[in-house]
């Protein structure tokens, strides 16, 4: 990567018009240099496309038994069938849909809560800040999985409850991050200028401070998304997450938790595991590249 920039390739590439480009153009130009992140984006896109098309075009129902049990992969069933007689490939890609749904919704919920609380906490300070930060401390003191497990036991495991639980447990990190950026932004001259100019608090908060926190929030949410997908998988794996017959990447592995399947039916447990790794690695690569690309202090 570095060699391309510094090495002989330099003369062949037309120099970008760095001085006049917009912020997002800079981000994209820097982002493109990360090979792994580009591979990550392509991977996610391919998986998304397959998740959209496979269950739609597949002749099989992901939750219906075909009465052919534990069949090894064949042309008819590219990933074989499971112990209930369902087509594994159709199930795998409908599981991707569910896992992504959980990940995206949970991330969305925690981001909204975290950003709002972080903005309020950092901007108003005082006892509001004190209260919000102590709640954050308390939630962060519980080992995350333990809290989610107890919550899942309380509210009965299931698709929507898992989304809500992950969403409501995951916000403290974002809240702290946003609060931190708000505190430092409040000291900047452009915010002080607006205050002196008599702008309303809402204007300063939403039109001046919020846009400047978008980059760190976006970077953080990619890691929250990756973690949410992993957490859903872990919870469903131990039977406290998405419940059968709905397929999720985690509960597909739950069914494979015995030595017979482990030994002689690898098509039942390797594909969902590899799919989780692919998705999460790809998302993490993208997040890492975003961190580099969005850093305003980077000179590149």
């Amino acid at each position: 990567m570095m060699k391309n920039i510094l090495g002989k390739g330099l003369r062949d590439i037309p120099a970008p018009d760095v001085a006049n480009e917009k912020y997002w153009e800079t981000v994209w130009r820097r982002f493109k240099k990360h090979k792994l992140a580009m591979i990550g984006i392509v991977t996610v896109a391919v998986i998304l496309l397959l998740a959209l098309l496979v269950p739609m075009l597949s002749p099989y129902d992901p939750n219906k038994s075909l009465n052919v049990f534990n069949e090894a992969p064949s042309l008819l069933h590219p990933l074989g069938t499971d112990q209930v007689g369902r087509d594994v490939m159709t199930r795998l890609f409908s599981a991707v849909r569910i896992s992504l749904l959980v990940g995206l919704m949970a991330t969305g919920i925690s981001t909204v809560i975290g950003v709002l609380l972080g903005l309020v906490s950092g901007f108003f300070g005082g006892w509001v800040d004190m209260l919000i930060m102590r709640i954050t401390d308390i939630i962060m003191s519980f080992p995350y999985i333990l809290l989610v497990l107890v919550a899942a036991a309380v509210f009965e495991p299931g698709l929507w409850n898992i989304i809500l639980i992950l969403g409501f447990v995951d916000w403290p990190g974002i809240a702290r991050l946003v609060r931190g950026s708000v505190l430092s932004l409040r000291e900047t001259n452009f915010v002080k200028a607006s205050e002196v100019a008599g702008m309303s608090k809402a204007h300063i908060l939403f039109k001046e401070i919020l846009p400047n926190t978008v980059a760190p929030i976006l970077i953080y949410t990619t890691s929250v998304l990756a973690l949410s997908i992993l957490d859903e998988a872990a919870l469903s794996f131990i039977g406290m997450g998405v419940q059968a017959p709905t397929a999720s990447l985690g509960n597909m592995l739950n069914n494979a938790q015995n030595l017979t399947i482990l030994t002689s039916r690898p098509w039942l447990w390797i594909p969902p595991g590899v799919m989780i790794i692919l998705l999460v690695v790809a998302i993490n690569f993208v997040g890492d590249a975003l961190r580099d690309a969005m850093d305003p202090t980077s000179g590149k």
């Binding site: 003191s141 519980f142 790794i277 690695v281």
Partner: protein, 315 residues
């Protein structure tokens, strides 16, 4: 220093109270243990007697204070399932968990620290890319899937390692037997921990290497070894300590999953069976304990800061 410790403790106390409230509320929402008493032989009168016996007929707030008062004298209550004292149950399960967490912590550090430092010192080299890519893989692989892969390789194919429990039944244990049972769970936990931390350590060291005093040290010509080991690493330690301090909660959480997969007889297994049985005194006990461990971990991290970084003054 003493004043600083007291101040930290004073901040920790409201958090601790908050923890007990959340803990109590959650497990009360979890449903009454009376729900487990169903069947034609259980009469309403028996249920009522049980309710009074367990103190469940009192208002929730009163129940909370009864529980809190007992807590202060070290009584975590009795399991509604096995009628054993919760503190006793925790006592008999905490050893294996601490053994597992401690070993994984050490192995995780032994992997992450050298790899992270090497990666930073050799930035943009092939080895650096390889380490960073591997560390991404380490964070992204679900612990239970890695556990299944390892079981497949080491138990099914090679037959070297046992896949469940802490000792072989009948043989009765011995150190080597326990170590054999520990290898796979420790690898799983350590890989997850190292995966995340390699990149943090790498960027911490990189940041230090970019500082002016490092350039000065280099310019003095004291040699690469001294620049890195004497000037850079010592300063990077402050960040490194925080990074590892933050690992304690996720190790605790990771242990729950890993103990499930490998049937490791620790707090994670205890917790899961308690959840399945709606045994909420036990759930509350384990949650509370883990939260206290996390709080203590944070406190120790803060104190280590003071030891490592002489520029931090606590007055």
């Amino acid at each position: 220093m003493v004043k600083y410790i007291l101040k930290r403790l004073a901040i920790a106390i409201p958090v601790l109270i908050g923890i007990t409230i959340i803990d109590f509320t959650l497990s009360n929402l979890a449903g009454s243990p009376l729900d487990m008493l169903v069947g034609p032989r259980v009469s309403e009168a028996a249920k009522l007697a049980k309710e009074v016996q367990l103190g469940l007929d009192k208002p929730v707030i009163v129940q909370y204070f009864i529980w809190l008062k007992q807590l202060l004298v070290g009584n975590l209550g009795y399991s509604t399932k096995s009628y054993q004292a919760v503190s006793e149950m925790i006592g008999s399960h905490i050893g294996p968990t601490l053994l597992l967490m401690g070993s994984s912590f050490v192995v995780g550090i032994l992997i992450a620290l050298p790899a992270g430092i090497y990666s930073a010192v050799h930035q943009y080299s092939k080895a650096d890319y390889a380490i960073v890519t591997l560390s991404f893989l380490g964070t992204s692989i679900p612990s239970f899937f890695l556990a299944m892969l390892l079981t497949y390789i080491f138990t099914v194919v090679l037959g070297w390692l046992p896949s469940a429990g802490m000792t072989t039944l009948g043989v009765g244990g011995g150190t080597w037997d326990i170590i054999k049972h520990m290898i796979m769970p420790v690898i799983v936990l350590a890989v997850g921990m190292a995966g995340t931390n390699i990149r943090y350590i790498r960027s911490a060291v990189l940041e230090i290497l970019g500082k002016d005093y490092i350039r000065t040290a280099k310019a003095k010509g004291i040699g690469r070894f001294k620049v890195i080991n004497k000037h850079a690493l010592k300063n990077a330690m402050v960040t490194v300590i925080t990074i590892f301090g933050m690992e304690i909660p996720s190790l605790f959480g990771g242990a729950v999953i890993v103990e499930q997969v490998f049937s490791w007889p620790g707090l994670g297994l205890l917790m899961m069976s308690a959840i399945n049985n709606r045994d909420f005194p036990t759930i509350m006990g384990v949650c509370l304990l883990s939260a206290v461990v996390v709080l203590l971990g944070n406190l120790i991290t803060d104190l280590l800061y003071a030891v490592v970084d002489p520029t931090i003054k606590y007055n």
